[in-house]
Assembly symmetry: C2
Homo-oligomer: 124 residues x 2
DNA sequence: ATAACTGTTATAATATACATATAACAGTTG
DNA sequence: CAACTGTTATATGTATATTATAACAGTTAT
């Protein structure tokens, strides 16, 4: 798994790590029960503090993405696929909501948004 | 104009003020050349420091939304409609980008997003 | 000119979040 | 026991956000 972090990002480092791992899990690049890099190992690779990685892992565990076992390491949690999907749909709806608000308040047409969506969809 | 701020928000107070005023300007609730609440007045109303309001106003001026005149107060800038529109389209594209990323990483179909969009569009 | 509004600037103090380094402690495995 | 794991505590540094205070400066109406 490749994790790339940036000091100059507006996102804190622990947050960048969280997102990279979440993404890897959701995209199935990291599979159920697969071991994650050890806290100490990842810290060394990224040349950051152990505590920063631990914070990321702790929050990922709290959110149900991974499990950590003292002395052994961390692994991808048996995930509730439905729950993950729901979470993501909710996130998407949140963004759509914001888009619609902007459009309505300043007469941006549905057509414009849809075109932009088509374009960005094909782009990735 | 109603501005509501929250201490417990993840957003800093000055940012909340900026967004509230931007929104009011974009939606034409605050019209061109209309006076904004005075820095001191708003600070008193919201029971926050003058400096916090000033920071919000300073950045709004930097971004071209308002003009401030020493001794007189602040007013909504004669807005460059094109520029505002561009900014909003950019913001929308940012959201679409995030949506597409989520979809691609976990096989959520274009159709699902479009349906959600249609629904939320009609809803508002 | 003065009073009562405006914004400006500078300073100091406090709080919080993020990140670091270090060290000691504890579980697992070969 | 050695060499990996994670855990906890402590201290430190830095940046950002926010506050309070005070002195300064422009505008306007009386």
């Amino acid at each position: 798994m490749d994790i790339i972090i940036s000091n100059s990002s507006n996102q804190p480092i622990f947050e960048q790590i969280k997102q990279a791992i979440k993404k890897a899990i959701v995209s199935n690049e990291l599979k159920e029960n697969e071991m994650l890099p050890s806290i100490r190992g990842l810290a060394q690779d990224l040349r950051i503090s152990v505590m920063t990685v631990k914070k990321a892992y702790d929050e990922l565990e709290q959110e149900g993405f991974i499990k950590t076992i003292h002395g052994k390491g961390s692994l991808v949690a048996a995930k509730n696929i439905e729950l993950l999907r729901e979470e993501q749909l909710k996130e998407i709806e949140g963004y759509i909501d914001k888009i619609v608000l902007i459009c309505k308040s300043s007469n941006i047409s549905k057509k414009e948004v849809l075109e932009s969506f088509e374009y960005l969809w094909e782009d990735k």
